[in-house]
């Protein structure tokens, strides 16, 4: 078990040990058989050290422990801005940048979609509603694509905002102007995603709310003469919350993986550009580190969601099995 990857690792270990032994002047006096014996002994030692003498299933648990405790090992080629090779440090150095940009964007998108969608579902057929429906196909173009246009307009033509990057060069020294500079650099990427994805978000939410507001219990509430706001909150919003929350939490988690192309277009130093350079340089530890964290976050979220569903929608709890 362990497959070809094991062979690669063993090969690498053997190569590095034999190089080290043959280049070491202290072993010059040894003859060929002695050298080989020495290499083999050191090789066996090294395998034992990294746990390759144990079966794959034992090692799997060791890997699992490493992953859970976020001991993600060392990168092959990439190093952090501070010069560290630790995958954990490399990732945590980039993470705040991505969270700042994309989590903000996702939050904005979510709330715009939710409130405008709710608003439009109440004004079905109005001019605003038709406009939203008409603009929905705009979302077939991705965010980075609008990014190019926005750079063209605001950076190149109007020269109002920077082309890309995260902060002015050289970075401002006091924290207030630093924050302002970051904000200035964030505007275009955030705007590009808002232009790209808010209309489809609004459209989907609106259609969704429309479907739910034609349910019998909503009609009943209306017949009872409950005020509009109560109907909205208790009869429409609440039963539709589980899928909305699912959407929201999944996109929040996905947002921390950044967006490779948007980050490249805007030259944003986040996880997306890290993913890109790691993939191009075949820096497996970094890639595996990122994917593993993502997988765990995903699993935890999906599990938490199951509980949240039951709290939000009483019907799910009563359904039992």
């Amino acid at each position: 078990m362990g497959g070809y990857v094991d062979e690669i690792v063993k090969g690498e270990v053997y190569l590095s040990i034999s190089q080290r032994v043959r280049q070491n002047p202290a072993y010059r006096h040894l003859n060929e058989t002695q050298v080989r014996e020495l290499i083999d002994a050191l090789y066996a030692n090294e395998l034992k050290r990294i746990g390759f003498d144990k079966p794959f299933i034992y090692r799997s648990f060791a890997y699992l422990k490493d992953a859970i405790t976020l001991s993600l090992g060392r990168a092959l080629w990439i190093s952090s801005a501070s010069g560290s090779k630790s995958v954990y440090i490399i990732i945590t150095e980039r993470l705040p940048n991505t969270v700042l940009l994309f989590t903000t964007t996702q939050l904005l998108l979510f709330f715009i979609g939710l409130f405008v969608g709710l608003f439009l579902s109440r004004r079905y057929g109005s001019v605003a509603d038709r406009l939203a429906v008409m603009l929905a196909p705009l979302s077939s173009l991705p965010g980075w694509f609008y990014g190019i246009f926005l750079i063209l307009i605001f950076a190149s033509y109007l020269r109002l905002l920077p082309y890309g990057g995260m902060v002015d060069v050289p970075p401002p020294t006091d924290s207030l102007s630093y924050a302002l500079s970051v904000l200035k650099h964030m505007t275009l990427p955030v705007l590009s995603w808002l232009v790209a994805y808010s209309f489809i978000n609004i459209y989907v939410r609106r259609t969704f709310f429309l479907m739910f507001s034609s349910e019998d219990y909503v009609e009943l509430a209306k017949a009872k003469g409950l005020p509009e706001s109560v109907i909205q909150r208790r009869y429409v919003l609440r039963p539709t919350l589980p899928p909305i929350i699912t959407d929201f939490s999944l996109s929040l988690i996905a947002s921390w993986m950044g967006a490779i192309i948007t980050e490249r277009v805007f030259n944003w130093p986040g996880i997306g550009s890290l993913l890109y350079s790691a993939s191009v340089m075949f820096d497996t530890p970094v890639l595996v580190g990122l994917v593993v964290i993502y997988a765990y976050l995903l699993a935890v979220t999906v599990f938490t969601l199951e509980i949240v569903y039951a709290i939000l929608d009483p019907r799910i709890r009563m359904g039992g099995a």
């Binding site: 057929g125 929905a136 196909p137 705009l138 979302s139 077939s140 173009l141 991705p142 980075w144 694509f145 190019i148 246009f149 750079i151 063209l152 950076a155 190149s156 033509y157 082309y163 259609t207 429309l210 479907m211 034609s214 993986m257 490779i260 192309i261 490249r264 277009v265 993913l275 890109y276 790691a278 993939s279 191009v280 075949f282 890639l287 990122l290 994917v291 993502y294 997988a295 995903l298």
Partner: protein, 468 residues
């Protein structure tokens, strides 16, 4: 009554957007067919990869010609004068003198009526001689009669003189003209400006410098110390507009990539979205029909693929193998075959499986394969057509995105490639907007047409949306 009219109107609107979308798609298909027949693929790749030598007659980073129609300021077209293709304004005379020498005189004259300076000025020579290379002097005359000696040189059999890159000449002209206007030209005026500008106070500032309109002359006088001599010269006054699409930093005609990008984008998008939808549906059907162990294996596989980050894996594969676009298409299909769609289709098939007509089919002894292909899939197929159409743009943009990451097909001319080139060579910094806008607009039109069609189809095939 009013509401019925309103509904009818709405439906008409839906159909109209579908009609517009469909019309655009048909036009794009027409362009693709034209591209395939007009420029065969190998020819397109050869042209696109030919390098700068092949495109030497084109200006660099030129705007498309049609900008002249919309602008009051006429940008120059490229003027090519060649002594091997005689025409008015081109003359060549090589006269033997005393049976031992040859006297050479070549003259070009051309009318320049544009409002902007040319981008470059080059002179190419082709000559034939035995031992003694001809020595030539290049002269320049402005419409008002001012004359300058540009250079004196001894040419080899294939030679060139990049007039606009001649720094010595630029310095010399700056000095001469400064003397004439009695003020020093402070800025680093290029040769093209100095040779084409009015020589008055306006030349002192690059923004006020005016083109002197009229007939320019360039003549070459020379001598060779043998009689068996022939010299051909080609003068290229590079303009600032070219063709219907302009040129890029390598003087290539962007039109070729725009044309060929169309069939590539369409086929990539359509093949990927259709085959992925069909494969996912098939996997979903198998999973739902057989349940048990087959289901478990397929579902776990799907979950594994769902966690794998798609783009990084594609990036790794294409960096590692430098694959062409069609293999890339296969990789994309392979990686998405077990996507989240499988879960949706499985859920649909689980419901359909219990329908009486499926039970009837089972009762008359239909095999599993027959039921899946003839009973389950046809039931779901119409409902997925809209999403199939809607996902075409995703894959069209995927190709562009990979090109922007520098991972597209190394040979094929595609829209994404142009955007990537434009981005890499600073089109946005230099204000060469056409370079980015042309492929982007095409990409946008393509995606929007599929999106419009898809949204309309969605309403037609899933009437619940319409009622809501």
């Amino acid at each position: 009554m009013a509401s019925r009219a309103k509904r009818f109107f709405e439906q008409l609107l839906f159909y109209r957007s579908a009609a517009i979308g469909l019309a655009i798609i048909l036009v794009l298909v027409g362009i693709s067919v034209y591209a395939i027949f007009a420029i065969p693929y190998d020819e397109a790749v050869r042209l696109w990869r030919a390098g700068e030598q092949h495109w030497l007659n084109n200006p660099r980073n030129a705007l498309p010609s049609w900008v002249n129609i919309f602008s009051s300021k006429k940008l120059p077209e490229t003027i090519i004068l060649d002594t091997s293709e005689p025409r008015p304004g081109v003359s060549k005379a090589i006269v033997p003198v005393l049976g031992r020498f040859s006297q050479i005189r070549i003259e070009f004259s051309f009318d320049y009526q544009y409002d902007d300076f040319p981008s470059e000025l080059n002179l190419f020579f082709k000559s034939r001689f035995n031992a003694s290379a001809p020595q030539l002097t290049v002269h320049w005359a402005k419409p008002n009669g001012e004359e300058y000696v540009l250079n004196t040189m001894i040419i080899s059999r294939e030679d060139k003189y990049y007039i606009s890159n001649d720094d010595r000449l630029a310095r010399e002209l700056r000095g001469l003209i400064s003397a004439k206007v009695n003020r020093t030209i402070e800025y680093d005026a290029p040769v093209t400006l100095l040779l084409f500008a009015e020589e008055d106070a306006s030349i002192l500032n690059p923004s006020t410098a005016k083109v002197m309109k009229g007939t320019y002359r360039l003549w070459i006088e020379g001598m060779a110390f043998e009689t068996n001599v022939d010299v051909d010269a080609r003068l290229i006054v590079y303009g600032k507009v070219y063709g219907w699409a302009g040129t890029d930093h390598l003087r290539r005609d962007i039109g070729i990539a725009l044309l060929w990008g169309t069939p590539i984008a369409l086929s990539f998008g359509v093949v990927a979205s259709v085959s992925i939808a069909l494969i996912q549906m098939f996997i979903g059907a198998i999973s739902a029909w057989f349940l048990g162990r087959v289901d478990t294996v397929l579902q776990r596989l799907t979950e594994v693929f769902m966690v794998l980050p798609f783009l990084p894996v594609v990036i790794m594969i294409s960096t590692f193998y430098k694959i062409n676009i069609w293999i890339l298409l296969l990789v994309v299909i392979g990686l998405t075959a077990f996507g989240s769609g499988v879960k949706n289709y499985r859920a649909m098939f689980l419901q359909i499986k219990e329908f009486p007509y499926v039970e009837a089919a089972r009762a008359y002894g239909a095999g599993s394969f027959r039921i899946i292909v003839r009973y389950l899939i046809p039931k779901v197929l119409p409902t997925i057509i809209p999403s199939m159409v809607l996902s075409v743009p995703d894959f069209v943009f995927l190709e562009a995105a990979l090109a922007i990451l520098g991972l597209g097909d190394p040979l094929a001319p595609t829209w994404g490639k142009i955007i990537d080139d434009a981005f890499t060579y600073g089109a946005l910094y230099k204000g060469l907007y056409y370079w980015v806008l042309e492929p982007s607009v095409l990409l946008a039109i393509t995606s929007l047409s599929f999106a419009m069609l898809g949204f309309a189809l969605d309403k037609i095939f899933n009437p619940r949306l319409k009622e809501a």
